[in-house]
């Protein structure tokens, strides 16, 4: 009886274990079993469980180690300023005097036939520019009075006036802008760049995200996600109010040596598991423990804008302790100065539909402009005087543009002046990082409805950003599910017209 019982118990234990063994583990064990040794060694030789990438940047010891790009890049880091909600190009950079003449008239049917808008229904009225425009600087770029400070540095900037997208909802359009796909699951551009170049400062994350305006972007955290890249490359979002990073102090009774010892022990155990399963996520976890340990020292210094001199606060218009875009911009400069590769800023609240005062193109939008104008201007000048503008690419833009027609949500007249989402033409700009100074590319028709020359897409912008960092966007790839993926998928052209 006891024999039979023992047998039963062992059987049950075996069954239990087999439940726990993962499919991957089972197959791997099979292959390394004596019976299947030949087969196992064959398949094992293909490194079929391990992650193998053609660029060869993912190492299991230090996934964030600095790497050489394909060719010598002009830029070493990127600050991407995304105005979430899509700012109106017609009130900022795309001056259309013809549109003013049509103000209040019915939109011609030819502009509506076969088109789909997010909210416009029936026949909307045309809406003239709700801002005063002037030509600025030597380059004569048109910038509206909504951005008086930026107007003074127009000669540093290259405008892209005919950017197009095929997504008219915020989430998908933001994803397209940052991951090269309107659907979830692709790595963001910051993740690609960190995967390709690693970080210059091993004590800080390579890719930092800061948000302002009270909300995260509509597409959620996927716009700075790692997609199928190892998660060590995802953007690290810092808090926008109070301490940027929490829990930097060790708990009482735990000194730094003990913390180091415990992290080492945990990582040793993780290393054993990695050796067995080759799951890159284990390495990512190990790297993140290490990073967190280092950040306890480095972060309080870098992330603290209190100690910046008064003239800097004056310049940026910053108020330490308050959540603001200005504070984030100053932080971005500090991070880039310390060697962080990619800093992404999202500022929410640019969706100027005209449904209430905060999103009226002639009121709310003006107030939004006032929160970004000074800090962005200060950023360009501050980078310049530190000798960093040449190697820091600054990108500004939204996810799409806004219609030359006034929004008439559900066919009704809205209480304020506003514009609907528009995919066919909008303006973005780049500066520094080997981009031409005081230049402009692309053009829209007389009323700013469609792009008529120099059309570019999100893919083209991404290809250009990678190009400035020294990458051939067609060669920065990662193998996943049987094929090599890249940020620009099968698209993308470097916009050489704005490259110095």
């Amino acid at each position: 009886m006891s024999k039979q019982n023992n047998k039963k118990i062992i059987q049950e234990a075996n069954l239990e274990t087999s439940h726990q063994i993962t499919r991957k583990y089972f197959f791997k064990e099979c292959f390394s079993g004596i019976g299947a040794m030949a087969l196992g060694s064959m398949v094992g030789g293909c490194d079929w469980l391990g992650s193998k990438d053609s660029f060869g940047n993912f190492t299991n010891t230090n996934p964030l180690m600095a790497h050489a790009p394909h060719f010598i890049g002009k830029a070493k880091s990127v600050i991407y300023l995304h105005m979430a909600g899509a700012p109106s190009q017609l009130e900022l950079f795309d001056y259309k005097p013809e549109l003013l003449k049509l103000d209040g008239q019915d939109c011609p049917q030819s502009l509506l036939d076969g088109k789909k808008f997010a909210f416009i229904r029936g026949v909307p009225k045309m809406l003239g520019p709700q801002a005063v425009f002037k030509q600025r600087g030597q380059s004569g770029a048109w910038i509206s009075d909504n951005l008086p400070h930026l107007s003074t540095v127009a000669d540093e900037i290259s405008f892209l006036k005919a950017v197009q997208t095929d997504q008219f909802n915020h989430g998908p359009a933001q994803l397209l802008m940052h991951t090269g796909s309107p659907r979830l699951g692709r790595p963001s551009i910051g993740a690609w760049v960190t995967y390709g170049l690693g970080t210059e400062n091993s004590n800080l994350p390579g890719f930092v995200v800061l948000t302002s305006g009270g909300n995260n972007p509509d597409a959620g955290k996927s716009v700075w996600g790692n997609g199928f890249l190892p998660s060590v490359y995802q953007g690290v979002q810092c808090r926008s109010e109070g301490d940027p990073v929490l829990f930097l102090k060790d708990p009482a009774g735990i000194d730094r040596d003990l913390r180091k010892a415990s992290i080492d022990a945990i990582n040793e155990a993780n290393q054993l598991t990695y050796n067995e399963f080759k799951d890159p996520e284990i390495v990512a976890r190990m790297a993140q423990y290490e990073m967190a340990f280092k950040m306890q020292i480095s972060v309080p210094d870098v992330m603290n804008i209190n100690d910046e001199p008064a003239y800097i606060h004056e310049m940026y218009g910053t108020h330490p302790g308050k959540a603001s875009f200005a504070n984030n911009v100053l932080l971005a400069r500090k991070l880039v100065e310390k060697g962080v590769r990619f800093v992404q800023l999202f500022d929410w609240g640019w969706d100027s539909h005209g449904t209430d005062v905060s999103n009226a193109v002639d009121i709310g939008l003006v107030n939004k402009c006032r929160t970004i104008d000074k800090p962005i201007t200060a950023l360009l000048l501050d980078l310049k005087q530190r000798g960093l503008l040449d190697e820091t690419l600054v990108v500004w833009g939204g996810e799409f543009g806004r219609t030359p027609m006034q929004e008439n949500r559900d066919g009704k007249t809205l209480p304020f002046k506003g514009r609907d989402h528009h995919t066919e033409a909008f303006t973005t700009w780049m500066a520094g990082g080997g981009i031409k100074q005081g230049s402009s590319f692309g053009e829209t028709d007389e009323i700013g409805y469609s792009a008529i020359s120099g059309k570019v897409t999100a893919y083209d912008m991404q290809a250009t950003i990678l190009n400035q960092l020294g990458f051939d966007h067609e060669k920065l790839v990662y193998p996943f599910q049987g094929r090599s993926f890249r940020l620009t998928d099968v698209h993308g052209r470097v916009i050489n017209e704005i490259v110095a």
């Binding site: 394909h70 001056y95 405008f159 006032r370």
Partner: protein, 467 residues
């Protein structure tokens, strides 16, 4: 009949090589036969001269046929034609001299013939391949001359034709419509030629682009025979097309400035794209032009272990960039390691580094260095002087240091230094003239930027009160 002449003309490029080869051979025989050993060859001389002469005559005929239907520069044709005729005449003359036993003249005949053949050949080559073909791209100086587009610092001040339109014509049209070739009897390389037009009449109707073949033919379907530039040649870009269109529609002026023509708003962005206001273009070479072998991987790994971010500047380069941002104290181990790879290091970032003399000496040994960032450091004037041998240095950032004007001026050996960042030092903007005496080509950034304070910065716009 015309087509037969045309066909005969097309044999010219083939046929010309016969007289060249045969006559050069005749001259060779002539030379050799003065040697006792090759005396026998003399017997072949009259025959080679005769055949060479006759083939030269036929070459002249085919050449004349070609010049009738070709579109070549008349001046060049004239030279080539008469030189070729003299070759034919003189070679026949050579045959006659031998036959009438006046061999004494033959020596001179051969000499003159040799020169004439080379000259004729040269002009023939110039006709087909274009002026300067012989030396094009052979000498380095020539390379820089090619594609030297005019600099347009401010597009409003640019002369529309000279600065913007002519470079387009030069790039896209001169290949067939200039002194080199005159396809369709049209030249576009000067105002008078453009106004004169080609065999089909005027190409430019000022004020009306769509009536001007110069513009209209660009719009034709690429498969159309009249489409310009012809299929397979570099095409006119969208931006160039719009510039041409505006130039013609605004009256095709040859001397007016852009601002005098008051460009319409839809031309602004196109014009802006032409602008190139980077000032005199200082070519910043990121790395020295000399090749270098790979650095010792062990040394690199050693430096990585010490916390230095060290990486090749690109996958295809052995030059190295080193960033000491996480290493504010470079100890002796680090110094020793850098010494071992000093020739490979081209970019160094040492912001906030705590310098001592030995460390500065290590830097001074990195002779390939092109970029050095030592902002926010304690480097002194005396230490900076040690760096006066970094001949490749182009970029120097000494923002927020104690360096004085005299300290900077010590670097008078650094001829390539062209980017200087000196904000928050003892060097002031008023020193620029003196800095320029040592670094004439440098752009010097003094910082001290300020963003003006406006009342609107902090005001919040509200809904206007209705009355």
């Amino acid at each position: 009949m015309e087509s037969i002449i045309k066909l005969i003309g097309h044999f010219h490029p083939l046929w010309v090589h016969f007289p060249i080869g045969i006559l050069l051979f005749a001259i060779l025989i002539h030379g050799l036969s003065s040697w006792e050993k090759y005396k026998k060859l003399e017997a072949a001389l009259p025959f080679t001269y005769l055949i060479g002469g006759l083939s030269a005559v036929f070459s002249c005929i085919t050449g004349y046929a070609l010049s009738n239907n070709g579109d070549y520069d008349a001046n060049l044709i004239f030279k080539h034609q008469w030189l070729a005729i003299s070759v034919a005449v003189i070679s026949i003359l050579g045959y006659v001299f031998i036959k009438i036993h006046k061999a004494v003249y033959l020596k001179w005949t051969a000499f003159v013939l040799l020169i004439l053949i080379f000259l004729t050949g040269h002009y023939g080559g110039t006709l087909t391949h274009g002026e300067g073909y012989l030396t094009k791209g052979v000498f380095v100086e020539d390379k820089q001359v090619i594609k030297n587009k005019p600099l347009i610092p401010n597009v409003q001040e640019a002369v529309l034709f000279n600065d913007i339109i002519q470079p387009i014509l030069e790039e896209k049209c001169y290949g067939c419509h200039s002194s080199i070739k005159k396809k369709g009897k049209l030249r576009l390389d000067a105002q008078e030629w453009i106004l004169k037009g080609g065999e089909d009449g005027l190409v430019l109707h000022a004020g009306d682009p769509l009536k001007s073949p110069l513009y209209k033919n660009i719009l034709l379907d690429p498969v159309d025979e009249k489409h310009m530039p012809p299929k397979g040649k570099p095409q006119v870009t969208e931006q160039e097309r719009r510039l041409l269109e505006w130039w013609i529609s605004s009256g095709a002026s040859f001397n007016k400035k852009v601002k005098e023509l008051s460009p319409p708003s839809n031309m602004q962005s196109v014009l802006l794209a032409v602008q190139n206001n980077n000032g005199p273009k200082i070519q910043i070479q990121a790395i020295p032009s000399a090749e270098i072998g790979p650095a010792d991987q062990k040394v690199i790994n050693g430096l990585k272990k010490m916390g230095v971010t060290i990486v090749n500047v690109a996958l295809n380069s052995n030059y190295i960039s080193a960033n000491f941002i996480t290493v504010p104290h470079a100890n002796d181990t680090i110094s020793d390691l850098i010494k071992k790879i000093n020739d490979n290091v081209v970019w160094i970032k040492m912001p906030g580094m705590i310098f001592n003399d030995p460390l500065v000496n290590v830097l001074a040994d990195c002779k390939s260095l092109t970029k050095l960032s030592i902002e926010n450091t304690n480097i002194s004037d005396k230490q900076l002087a040690i760096l006066n041998d970094l001949h490749e240095l182009q970029y120097l950032n000494i923002v927020n240091t104690k360096i004085s004007l005299n300290g900077l001026m010590q670097l008078n050996n650094l001829k390539k230094l062209n980017q200087l960042y000196v904000g928050q030092t003892n060097i002031k903007e008023t020193d620029l003239a003196r800095i320029k005496t040592v670094f004439p080509n440098a752009t010097v950034n003094f910082g001290n930027y300020n963003v003006e304070k406006l009342i609107t910065d902090t005001q919040i716009l509200k809904v206007p009160q209705k009355k």
